[in-house]
Symmetry: C2
Subunit: 226 residues, 2 copies
DNA sequence: CGTAAAATTGAGCTGTCTCAATCAATGTGG
DNA sequence: CCACATTGATTGAGACAGCTCAATTTTACG
């Protein structure tokens, strides 16, 4: 099992520690409302956000307006480890809930990596984990049916949340809109609705008031690759 | 514009130099026939292949037998920079043509990265580039039509080959089978055939005898996002 | 409490798949 | 160098997953 990576190394004091406990390369935190695009890495940027609280989504747009969500960011996650040193990526980061985040200084992070093998090692691990997740997403989009992708998304989010909170609840807070699920899984919002209806009908999940319960983890998991 | 990355740093003498010109962490090369799976990174592996000659594909399988090609490897490319330090990835690497490759010692590579900031920098760049390609693939599979994905694949391969040979020919060697195009773009082999027929009909490409000519680069490119 | 955003539903429609058959090309052993 | 065997390409008919668009209801929010 893998730890929480570079972030964990950087902030021994915990994600919601006061700024004084953060390394000097961390800047003061900001709070913003849900639904706001709070970061766009288009031109030269010299700092990278880390999510302290709330959910965010990293998305890319097609010229024709269609959108693909590349990943969700949960509390304690750094934006895209492997693009840490790309000055120019065309990804938007959008708050899905009210968000609190801090910024890390890029140059400082690099300095740290070069001089601290433990940090470097964590960083490399983060890259690998991120790549692994992306590989899985490609597999999903290329070779699985819509309902399987959605099942996987649900289970993956549950896993990631569980890893953080250390409790494995089949019920958890689920702020995603159907249109966001759609953009993450490469289908239409209308069709996400159909699929969720199907899941509810088969008593696989319960979803109401932004709270999701996976009623039958095993069956949902089995569904993914049948 | 980005260089050829870590590989370039490691092998100043050029990809087809005799072994004596290679760094000590490179092992002797091997040659294998097309169609062979020559590397499977399943359990602990202590070396990573670099392609000296030929094309290869990195693929992942679903339990139900379906396959997704995650990337193609062209001459001079290292297998998956960002998984360089993952001992366990479930990807197969398959030769698409007769292949010549060498192996790099993993521990040695790591040593080099920690001590040589220039190598580290190249490595980070490679990770970023690889992630960028993967992001694009996700965008493709999630939000583009089959013919657009195939157009993009063709153009991307043309670009990558051109970057290597420094000549920008609209005609190049194209060893991919339709079934491989299918597994890379998330469609069916039968449908790939339809799409290619369409491209030929519209005089966008010429494809015969493993040789591909892009007749109208601009129009093919425009097609991708319309 | 009114308004905007999300969810739900339905009626077509189309891109892509499945399966199967045929044809072409490539390789192999004799 | 031929005859067969295998693999890949091409094509067609039918099926269905998932899309579009639009209408309606529900939920969230200032």
């Amino acid at each position: 099992m893998r730890g929480l990576g570079l972030c964990r190394i950087l902030i021994e004091a915990g994600i919601d520690a006061p700024l004084s406990k953060w390394p000097p390369i961390a800047q003061v935190g900001k709070t913003i409302a849900a639904r706001r695009r709070f970061f766009r890495s288009q031109e030269h940027v010299d700092s990278i956000p880390i999510i302290c609280d709330g959910w965010a989504a990293v998305a890319e747009f097609l010229p024709n307006g269609r959108r693909q969500i590349l990943s969700f960011l949960l509390p304690g996650e750094l934006l895209s480890s492997s693009t840490l040193f790309e000055s120019c990526v065309d990804h938007d980061v959008e708050a899905l809930t009210p968000i609190c985040y801090r910024l890390f200084d890029r140059a400082g992070l690099w300095e740290r990596l070069v001089t601290d093998p433990k940090a470097l090692s964590s960083f490399v691990n983060d890259c690998a984990e991120e790549k692994h997740r992306l590989d899985e997403l490609v597999l999903d989009l290329g070779r699985r049916k819509a309902h399987q992708r959605i099942a996987r998304l649900i289970l993956e989010l549950m896993d990631r949340l569980a890893r953080r909170s250390a409790v494995r609840e089949p019920t958890f807070n689920f702020p995603l809109r159907q249109s966001q699920i759609a953009d993450a899984t490469g289908v239409t919002a209308a069709y996400v609705n159909q699929v969720l209806k199907g899941f509810r009908g088969k008593r696989l999940i319960k979803l109401e008031k932004r709270s999701l319960t996976v009623l039958d983890v095993a069956r949902l998991r089995r569904l993914i690759d049948e």
